[in-house]
Symmetry: D2
Subunit: 434 residues, 4 copies
Amino acid sequence: MSNLAMQPLDSYSSEDSEQTLFDLYQQVRTASEAICAPLETEDYGIQTMPDVSPPKWHIAHVTWFFEAFVLKPYLKGYRPIDDAYDYLFNSYYQTHGVPYPRAQRGLLSRPGVENVYQFRQHVDIAIADLLSNAPAEHAEEICRRMRLGLHHEQQHQELLVMDIKHILAHNPLNPVYRTDLRTPTEMRAEDLRWQSFPGGIHEIGLSDPSAFGFDNERPRHRRFLEAFALANRPVTNGEYLTFITDGGYARSELWLADGWSRINAEGWNAPLYWRRQDDGWYEMTLGGMRRLDPNAPVCHVSYYEADAYARWAGARLPTEAEWEVAAEGRQVRGNFLEADYLQPVVDQFFDEDEPLQLFGDVWEWTSDAYGAYPGFKPLDGTLGEYNGKFMSGQMVLRGGCCATPESHMRLTYRNFFYPHMRWQFAGLRLAKDV
Amino acid sequence: MSNLAMQPLDSYSSEDSEQTLFDLYQQVRTASEAICAPLETEDYGIQTMPDVSPPKWHIAHVTWFFEAFVLKPYLKGYRPIDDAYDYLFNSYYQTHGVPYPRAQRGLLSRPGVENVYQFRQHVDIAIADLLSNAPAEHAEEICRRMRLGLHHEQQHQELLVMDIKHILAHNPLNPVYRTDLRTPTEMRAEDLRWQSFPGGIHEIGLSDPSAFGFDNERPRHRRFLEAFALANRPVTNGEYLTFITDGGYARSELWLADGWSRINAEGWNAPLYWRRQDDGWYEMTLGGMRRLDPNAPVCHVSYYEADAYARWAGARLPTEAEWEVAAEGRQVRGNFLEADYLQPVVDQFFDEDEPLQLFGDVWEWTSDAYGAYPGFKPLDGTLGEYNGKFMSGQMVLRGGCCATPESHMRLTYRNFFYPHMRWQFAGLRLAKDV
Amino acid sequence: MSNLAMQPLDSYSSEDSEQTLFDLYQQVRTASEAICAPLETEDYGIQTMPDVSPPKWHIAHVTWFFEAFVLKPYLKGYRPIDDAYDYLFNSYYQTHGVPYPRAQRGLLSRPGVENVYQFRQHVDIAIADLLSNAPAEHAEEICRRMRLGLHHEQQHQELLVMDIKHILAHNPLNPVYRTDLRTPTEMRAEDLRWQSFPGGIHEIGLSDPSAFGFDNERPRHRRFLEAFALANRPVTNGEYLTFITDGGYARSELWLADGWSRINAEGWNAPLYWRRQDDGWYEMTLGGMRRLDPNAPVCHVSYYEADAYARWAGARLPTEAEWEVAAEGRQVRGNFLEADYLQPVVDQFFDEDEPLQLFGDVWEWTSDAYGAYPGFKPLDGTLGEYNGKFMSGQMVLRGGCCATPESHMRLTYRNFFYPHMRWQFAGLRLAKDV
Amino acid sequence: MSNLAMQPLDSYSSEDSEQTLFDLYQQVRTASEAICAPLETEDYGIQTMPDVSPPKWHIAHVTWFFEAFVLKPYLKGYRPIDDAYDYLFNSYYQTHGVPYPRAQRGLLSRPGVENVYQFRQHVDIAIADLLSNAPAEHAEEICRRMRLGLHHEQQHQELLVMDIKHILAHNPLNPVYRTDLRTPTEMRAEDLRWQSFPGGIHEIGLSDPSAFGFDNERPRHRRFLEAFALANRPVTNGEYLTFITDGGYARSELWLADGWSRINAEGWNAPLYWRRQDDGWYEMTLGGMRRLDPNAPVCHVSYYEADAYARWAGARLPTEAEWEVAAEGRQVRGNFLEADYLQPVVDQFFDEDEPLQLFGDVWEWTSDAYGAYPGFKPLDGTLGEYNGKFMSGQMVLRGGCCATPESHMRLTYRNFFYPHMRWQFAGLRLAKDV
């Protein structure tokens, strides 16, 4: 038996090397609950579109992950609190069993919020039990899965923030998630400047075999890049507004064909949460309706909109390799979840050098479709469904956003969404050939 | 000023002639809340299909009805608790304003359950205020609208029961609404017997101008009927099961064309809440999953199924005139909401003579499409939208069911649903030519 | 053996009592082909919506009817020209076999037009053969089915005209079906006058057991009617235009709920083939685009539109019994297919007395849902699917139209369409209580 | 004025340097008509799904291309045969005008087949006129556009073959396109062997500025590749059958998430045109239904199926760079349109060395999403819509197929389809890391 609970978790993130696995577990679990704390019971059950999951479901699903992949295989005598949860809270692991239909997650009043928190507690106790008395022959695998489970829960923390925003913003009452969010001081955005990077063979992806990272970030491999330039900061609301007033949404020549169909079919003429009122543009935020800040990075745009903007601006989106080369060696800090803005802001103190805001604020759309790196190997077994099976039809975004937990982010992190999606905190940074 | 609160309401129902309007108001309002009492907060917000409304919405909408049609026009200085409710809780009164989209009622977490009960209280206080000091010149109209508002709320009591059943039965956990429902003693259903009625000119519809009734029940008018016979009781589960085992759902010649399309497109092969298990048929009820009682009336069948069964049985459905002629002179009593079964049962003590169970247990599909009686006049103004605008595509059902408040029922009451609908407590009684 | 070919067919229509069955067969078959004669080969294959069938399919299906119900059962040694036709050209007779999907009829290039005419010829020869040497024991049934087959083909003649109009009018080139159609002389419509009819017990439906009629017209039976009044002529284009300019399509209080949804979802603001141009309203006709004639009966309106117009006009639609009582004893003549207008016109010489235009011009929507008459018995066997299975969700129309063959029409004829349909030549006549 | 008609077109394809532009024009135009020659008039108008266009439309659209981009800008006094064609036959050039809706191309009976051929002739005459007397200052641009128009028409020749196959195979009569197609002699497929290629910096894309190529093939640029191996031939029907019998379509772990949804939603369990019969598998071909040849390359598989097969086989799909590197220096020859099989076959005489069948037979799915090469510049103006706007959501295929005109193919040619599409002649070749 090994006591994993007290094991230092040096590979989780560089700064927290002193932290033990159980400390970290508690910290991550607590953070999820803190995100939900401002919710009313009624908010927990809403699913405004199939892509959104009810907060209650997230809270249960991340718990299910530990149950399914850690407790059931490794904790002798573990007893589920309710056998049906294995079906209800499986997201998409087909090899684990046919999951409850995604689009119907909002139709479940039971288990209730309280039951779901009991489920969390039930699993937390069992995890504490397992970590204190882990079978030695599985200690390494348990650690590996715990670490994955924690990152998985952090991913869902960001999803919770996104989904809560969608749920509240869909309500005609415009309810405010939190009135005590940090609010940015007014600042001018930096003027747009271009920063050049040399061409040649570069390496991207994760190499250190002991460092945590998803399977899709590996292996580290070489890419040949031509010299390129990157904008010193993301595109701002003010710039995007100029695109709109220049007829951006009405000029077919700026759009990908699929994008043109989409904006016409759904009547898009601005980013997702923008609202035009008599006295100008407003934006629905987690702190309520606010006047649009022209200096802040534009957010909640789809790939189609990012791409159209870049074309209009005479530039293009960066590739993910360009982005990673530009960000290499930077400290992972910025406007993340912990900064408590929950909204992109003008960079204030996060970056010392340009390019600014590579990390945090908004996920930056790249021009790369999400696919396998050369030599990609998915995880074994059911966990192999984690990332690999989504490698079609989606685009890569980089750098994290104001809803991403900071310790969840890495230089090599690859996020991915379908090109029409825009309820995530997604913006863009321009690039161009040199 | 008149004090309407203490006014006896002799025209509401024959038995309660002593009851005052305010007593009655309180009694109806309390009954709605009693139906919701067993719910969890989470149950209040669910909409399992567009036809179903979240219980919270019902509770608010019936309150909105008093606000929109009584308080706003007649209570001087009335202040709404929230102006947005007028939009959110308008069901379908287009001349009152464009209502919030019906299919999205389940996407609203706010106002929460507590807010909705505060809305009720706010309106209750204002109603008490108005009734105690009603402007004399509007006293009569206020009484008329109050009475309509109360019947409206009673209609929604039945809808609440139907919708709660749908919400819970849709949940894979099979939650039980109430464990303390009255349960029927085991009894054999009567053998099927036919009762004949003479042809000739009959009158149907409501005549007494002071009696309450919906506009669609008037005017009383003459119909010529051929002699006909009616079954002594509704079709039972056991009989319907024979239809199923005889291949009823696979024999196209038994079905209306629209019904045949529907059962094939949706894979129907039994009434809505029937569940086949290894040891036979079960039925999801508000008291949980129960073994199917072959003696009880079959319930939760669509018009298509009722019609196909009748054809298979060599009979037909009655017309609404036949039904009303047969029921004329009967006392309105039976297995209604207050009997507290919330499920159709074998008749035990409700009827003295055959035909049994004309009232209560299950709404009986008639072969009549829902339309205007000769000389029909809808109510004036926005309330004219109450009934008349639904006179296309729907079929008439008669007699009330185990979820209908008894004092809401009348001989001349016309209910209507689209022929594919079956989440209401609908069954059938056979008829034939003589 | 009997020679049916030479048998006089006195029961087909009163005037043609001298006509033999084979004469009549040839005449009807020729008429179908005459309707198609102006078509290009390409026109024969188009299906502009699921309700429309390609002309080629009609031509083949009416032939299949004779093959399936006359030749196969009664002509010994009959050999189909292609076994697959029995599947491809079965419309909806489920007990005959699962038909080829209706919505995909426009995807079949083969059999080609020429093949389909060969199929006709093949069947015509076989019918001639059968009629000349009919097995005596089946002579009566063969006659009955032949008569039904001929009326069936006449029904499809009207469908052909409707569908051809839809196919051509859908084409941006606005192709003209025939340039040599008879065109009406300009005339003023009669002023609107009301004609009263007494209440009491009336009989409707078909009684003569030897007369031809569909099963749905029988049995003749009694109805009690209150006294009523009927307009002397159908509603005109000019009157309907006033309804439009009075905001008819924007006033929710005029519309059935289902109608209001439909006109908003599909953006309706005028009858189907009306086209607004800079210099006023035009109408697409089978003779091409023509300036709207304000005196001609309005046509191509749905039940929803007819009902809304009547409400706007302070009147209502007649019941089918009222219509039939008013038309009783009238000669069946009017602007039918043979008049060769293929468009409703101002009555010119068809009627001697008012009410005018009960027959021909436009089918008149009644307020009755299509259902079974008391004592209705569908035909035996597969032919029982002809009418009865459509008795849900549809409304009755009466009187025939400018595309109906005159000899196909009867006083008691009941046509039926769903309330949203309007590609048939449907208009309305006002009624009111007295 | 220049006489372009006689100008040698050395840059069209290397072999035909003697050919003049007008010769080539006539040759390409004739080839399109030859493809349509076996069709019945009725076949020309069918659209079996939105992706398919009626043959008539193709024939007109390629003509429209010359009219819109060559004649209207450069032939003084050019008069269109019908102004409406500019709307009807514009495919997707939004900056040219809003095109007629794609999904409704099958609803147009007019213009008829004959009219469309008249349109062709009208344009052919005008082109001859223009080429003989081209304005000197536009000679170069005219040549450029003519060349593009010819390649455009060749693309549609392949689309014609694909679409004709879909139209005929959808018909229950299983009509045969041509009975005189060349049929392969029976041969065994080569055993699967792997051929290695070295890693390092490679160049792909088109460099020669005078050579014809689409904008999406440029610029030539460097890629770093790891060493890789490619299969010596495409996957065969026999191999794919083993995948099926091994439960390939029922094992979720083999599939991309989008693919798994698709195959379950649409019930796929084999390639598009495979038909299981009692005595084994058959395949619908343009020569009719044929017994499946286990040695021929598998065809009509989607990206999802290709990807799942590769995973099952323990291999992967090649990247487009790997494919191009492997094919570099090979002669472009193989089983193309002119070989007149119109079906992939076992390599017989096309290749001298392995890897076999890189060109022709089946388009080979690569693992690359279709996107811009570094430095990509779309054509100017409306022609910029030709390729660039489709750069999202689609995958690259390489090498051409048995329906591609040989002179249309190039080493650097990039074809693209959505991952679910499979009516094109698409197969796969395995790759793996070394």
